[in-house]
Symmetry: none
Subunit: 226 residues, 2 copies
DNA sequence: TTGACATACAAACATATGTTCGTGTATACT
DNA sequence: AGTATACACGAACATATGTTTGTATGTCAA
């Protein structure tokens, strides 16, 4: 079940055919159609190789249903086929650093120009809440200092870069006087700012507006166990 | 037949469902699936209305082939949706229900066959941890009963269906005697099972193995603010 | 050699899925 | 009334299509 398995020529062929067929007809081919077009005599061989493609992370199958195929990754060495401009492609956002208590959040000048191969993380479209992916970035959480906000070590936080916030929004804030980075719900009060943890078992903190630099608004959180 | 025939409410409904389904799953629905979701009792009625949609210029059909549908025109009064089953670049898992304290987790017999409105959620490939999408499902968390596990109301939990677990894994467990559903780290002890919250501020609970039905292993958690 | 493993085939199998048909309603028009 | 038309139902039907099984072949390592 490894990701980096090399595809056989036959498997590449199948992948390309499925992609073309789907683009042309509007729905994926059947196992038998794949077999015919890729010169595979037996349906079980097609099935076998389809499962290989699933293992390799290129394909998704819906069991027992006809044409239950879905290509979920570009074919290596082949130009990606035209897709619809709308939600066809899952966005990738720049993973620009880490967030931890005691250290400020430093962002590169230009998020959109961040260029590190593995520093991108795929995010489902809906989790971007309509924001442009160029103004959105991701941070890895280090340490348990955000535990009052229901965010733990290893979590990936998706944020939109902005320096102000509306009441109730979850923000990433740097508190210079305390040398403290925190993720909390933002509330502007009479002459202070209330930062409210998500877990109500913890108490809010109050800070002076001058001691609260908002770095961004938290859009979503993703966590992977294992 | 003329092009500008007004569509019946039923036909509009069908069109919208087909569009959504295709966008979500990557391939068009079957006649029977359309019938179920649009409250049409007979497949022949669905077929009848599909042909009407063809006449009206909204749809293209490929005769005799399963799922041979292709929307070729936008639905009036509805935002244009992706009409082609193109390569959508991220896996979808079935969102089969909710998880809350006090009610058991009931799963449909066949996850892969579930077909409902918001029934699928896009998940980044890496968050599936290499498991087959057909054995993976998602639940929406209701209530704050999982707060000790750093999971809150509204979170989407991605699980793999399994009835046993290894030490340290996060599992979804149903405790019959307590009528309690819970998400915790699993540890098998001498003659009991220790369920350990992720937030160490909370205490573990110990249960008898007979009083602990494991429903699945938690692969990942996704949370969207907004 | 032996055995394990990946790949391949063909045929049988189970069922998912489109199609057809006979029938029953309404409604509108003659 | 009688007739035509649009729309609906359910059941039977035919076949399109995924799955399983038994077997065979190659390679590679022990």
């Amino acid at each position: 079940m490894k990701e980096f398995k090399k595809l056989s020529r036959r498997q590449q062929n199948m992948l390309r055919f499925m992609s073309e067929y789907t683009g042309k007809r509007g729905f994926p081919p059947t196992i038998r159609e794949i077999g015919e077009r890729c010169d595979i005599a037996s349906t079980s061989v097609v099935n076998y190789n389809l499962n290989k493609l699933v293992d390799a992370g290129y394909l998704q199958r819906s069991g027992k249903v006809s044409r239950g195929l879905r290509i979920i990754r570009d074919i290596p060495g082949v130009a990606p086929l035209p897709r619809l401009a709308t939600n066809s492609n899952s966005p990738r956002v720049a993973l620009v650093g880490r967030i931890a208590a005691g250290e400020p959040i430093s962002l590169p000048e230009d998020i959109a120009h961040h260029i590190d191969e593995d520093d991108y993380v795929a995010v489902p479209q809906e989790f971007l809440q309509g924001f442009d992916e160029n103004e959105v970035f991701a941070l890895t959480v280090r340490g348990d200092s955000m535990i009052d906000s229901m965010i733990q070590d290893g979590d990936i936080v998706i944020l939109r870069q902005q320096s102000t916030a509306d009441n109730g929004e979850m923000v990433a804030a740097w508190l210079p006087e305390d040398s403290e980075t925190t993720l909390k719900h933002f509330y502007r009060e009479a002459d202070s700012i209330r930062l409210q943890p998500a877990n109500t078992a913890y108490d809010p903190i109050f800070v002076h507006p001058a001691n609260c630099q908002i770095k961004g608004k938290v859009l979503s959180v993703m966590r992977s166990y294992g």
